[in-house]
Amino acid sequence: MPVAIVLLPLLGAIVAGALAFIDPGSRAAKARIDKLAQAVTCGALLISMVLAIITFNSVAINGQTQTITILNWISSGELEINWGLKLDTLSAVMMLVVTVVSAMVHIYSIGYMHHDPSIPRFMAYLNLFTFFMLVLVTADNLVQLFLGWEGVGLSSYLLIGFWYDRPSANAAAIKAFLVNRVGDFGFMLGILGVFVLFGTVQLDPILAGAAEHADTVLNLFGGEAHALTVICILLFIGAMGKSAQIGLHTWLPDAMEGPTPVSALIHAATMVTAGIFMVARLSPLFEQSDIALSVVTIIGASTAIFAATVGCVQNDIKRVIAYSTCSQLGYMFFACGVSAYGAGIFHLMTHAFFKALLFLGAGSVIHAMSDEQDMRKMGGLWRMIPVTYALMWIGSLALAGIWPFAGYYSKDIILEAAYGAETGVGQYAFWLGVAAAFLTAFYSWRLLLMTFHGKPRADEPVLARVHESPMVMLVPLFVLATGALVAGFIGYDAFVGHESGAFWNGAITVLPGHPALERAHESPTWVKLAPLAVGLAGIATAYVMYFLKPDLPGRVAAAFPRVYRFVLNKWYFDELYNAIFVRPAFVIGRSLWKGGDGAVIDGVGPDGIATATMGIAQAVRRVQSGYIYHYAFAMLIGILVLVSWYVLRSV
């Protein structure tokens, strides 16, 4: 059954992919093909989802963890790699989240993409993505995990560039791919390091043997380094790329070029959380290295605050949510960094629901506004699309961490755990996290107010066509909204509360020296209330600035022009990378092309040889004069040379 969960989406992808190649001929035939592709892919995903729920029940609730080996994949010397499924609570949770969100996004896409010309291709990509994501989360060895990791990267690339006739979409797709390569390189080195250290890439022996290698030292470039620290940091670089952490985050906002359901599924709910999953999966390794954990915490917390500040000034509705995602991923990482992996995964799950909800809601708004994404051209929509409006409220409340929505529970426990870690980096994470929580609430309500309230700023023809989305788009939103409402208090006890030990059932390892999560429950009352308070404060600030005094934002921006520009330009990361990497790469490439390849290799090589050949050919022709005495002379010269060769040699 777990095998079917993974393989059904692949089957759907193959069928829909094949359908994408059929030339329909007529419009009616095209409609039929589109319908078929939608039915196959959605059907596969829904069955997969039901099976995943059943599996979740047996694995996570009833504790039947198992490892299924399907096939031997690579067998070479010491290296043994199998195709296998590792089913424990962690993978069961991930499977549940992935299949549920994915199924909702599939159904939503039927409505959202209905006038797109290449529906089968889109559905095939979505299914393919889901397949790779499931391979990733169920992998029982690092290589298979890497396969899924690259596979989701590929699907992400294909889907960001889905509208391949837009240059910006292609650029974004390439950017996403390249930035991820940087991370993937670290990940690969990490896998190699693991193999060097453990002699295997199978997860079970690695996780079991981590403690033995707690003090192993690795010789690197003449120096010595703590092996697990090196490996964990390398692996974390991979996670940073995939999960868009500060430094390697630049691709995520650009990835919004893809269709909105893609943003919801891949760039909010599932793929970008692969990094958190990986860190949690390898928690026994990370636990052995305090340095690596500190790095994870600092990077996570910095991302949380950085992305939140940028999110406050963006005007594109999807980009705001994208930065929000980036920021929330930072929360999850610093939860892991303070050894509160359960809290990180908990937030991963609740975030999947409410962020998918927000994205799909934003998609609904965009759909209503005839593909307009700029919030400055929206406003006053709440009467026209009330259902979407209500759903966006739910999503925002959850994101801002207001009781009793899901985000309240998960974000609260993360901040408490950071406080409870009682370390310097823990405090760093806690305070930045609180600040980010304020900003989160602020930009959420800024989004709500700019989009739905105030005077309508759109053009007349656009406004005339504003309409509520069809049921096929709203039903998935209701499902996700339910998740955003209830996932928090349902999951709290299991994920991070007093049942968590039984729930995780060994899927996550926390050393006794890292008691952040236990202490979290005993943290002072003000710590418990702080997130909620700053959340409310953020909402209030947004109300003041965007509802009561709409001219205030402009005045603030004018008062601090440098800060404003710094934040508006996303802390100049893109410009920095352009200056350091992109432009020098172009310069080097151009000089190698023009100078190295063109002048030297072509000049001396193909072109030069060709020219020389023609020259020699001409010379030889001229020698061939047609006169007998020339020919006889050549023969005599020939024999003279040959004879003198021997005569001179023998002297």
């Binding site: 050949t613 023609m614 020699i616 050919a617 001409q618 030889v620 022709r621 061939q624 047609g626 007998i628 020339h630 020919y631 006889a632 050549a634 023969m635 010269i637 020939g638 024999i639 040379v641 040959l642 004879v643 060769w645 021997y646 005569v647 023998s650």
Partner: protein, 494 residues
Amino acid sequence: MPTAEFPNLFPALPEIFLLVAAMALLMFGVFRKDDEAGPARVRCSRIVARLCILALLCALILVVTMNGSDRVTTFNGMFVVDRFAVYFKVLILISSALSILIAQDYLEVHRVARFEFPVLVVLASVGMMLMVSANDLMALYLGLEMQSLSLYIIASFQRDDQRSVEAGLKYFVLSALASGMLLYGSSLIYGFTGTTSFDAMAGALAAAPGEAVSLGALIGIVFILAGLAFKISAVPFHMWTPDVYEGAPTPVTAFFAVAPKLAAIALLLRVMMEPFGALTVQWQQVIVFISVASMALGAYAAIGQSNIKRLMAYSSIGHVGYALIGLAVGNEAGVRGVLIYMAIYLFMNIGAFTCILSMRRRGQMVVGINDLAGVSKSNPMLALALAIFMFSLAGIPPLAGFFGKLYIFLAAVQAGYFTLAIIGVLTSVVGAFYYIRIVKVMYFDEAEEVLDRRMDRPTALVMAATGILIAIFFIIPDPLLSQAQAAAQSLFGG
């Protein structure tokens, strides 16, 4: 005083038969009623041509059936028959027969269809067979001259055509010079070894391994080599080739390009391996030089050509260069490579010339490469056949030409002659340019005026047969490989 024993004629039976047949056909032609350029003369030439082909085939059967696997000598050791000789005689007879077959139509079109042509080809073939079987410097020279005398005449066979006469004359004068060199070399060798017999010579040269090889003998070898290099048109004795190929009537060129080369290569192999085998290290350097120079010149000079016959001349120079790699290697594998190469070369060249013979526009022969433009549309079969031959000549797998080169290069690499093999491969690349250019002209250039579709039946048949042989050689290479192996072994006394 012992009387001279009557020599055993039996091993030379094919040659004797062919000679008698040639005389008889000559008589037949001479005494037949002649009407000076009328239909009777054409009819006569046709009959003689067919009978000549028949005679060649009979000789072929004789050669094959009389062949014991042993080495037999006769005429006081001047004439030798072994597997090596049989191999080359078969190839020579095939190429002569094919040449007569494809020549007839051309000769008739150009109003030079005379019965002497096939008879001369047969006589040349007898000379070549004698060359192949020569086991003495005297026999060598006799065979060579017999062959050459016939060739001088057929080169200028189109005697109203200035270019044809010029070709014959050039060939005659330069060939005489080459023969002079050969004779001078022979006398030097005789002077230093005291014998003209190959067997005795080998003994004399191998007898004193400790002593330094006498310089006189070496120079003699160089002169003999020069004379033979002229016959196979190896650089720097190649200069006659393009002019003669261009000027001579096309079927004569086809004959020139194949049969005399086979005979001369055979002779060269035998002379270098048998009597001079002990001096391999010495003559190797000359062969390497000639081989490299021929490959390079063949590759580069052909590029500038616009006449396809001249192009084939340079092509043949290049191919001789490749074949000489096998000789330069100087071992059994190398000789085997040469044998395979020459057999494949025969069919590629005859095939390519059938295509050239079919290039006609309004009944007239054309030989410009650009005249081939658009042939792929006007005459697709011709285009396909010529493309196969060109790709094969260029050595593109899986065609036969590739395997010819493969065995040569393989032998060179196995014996450690990497430089030779690398130069060979590089010049093949250059050579591929002009072969494939022809294919490009045929398939991608637009024609101003297309070629005739007409092809006479024998030519078309030969074209089809050689084309198929070249194309499917890789499926059934074994007969050729095993024969070549046996022939090479016999040369090394195995």
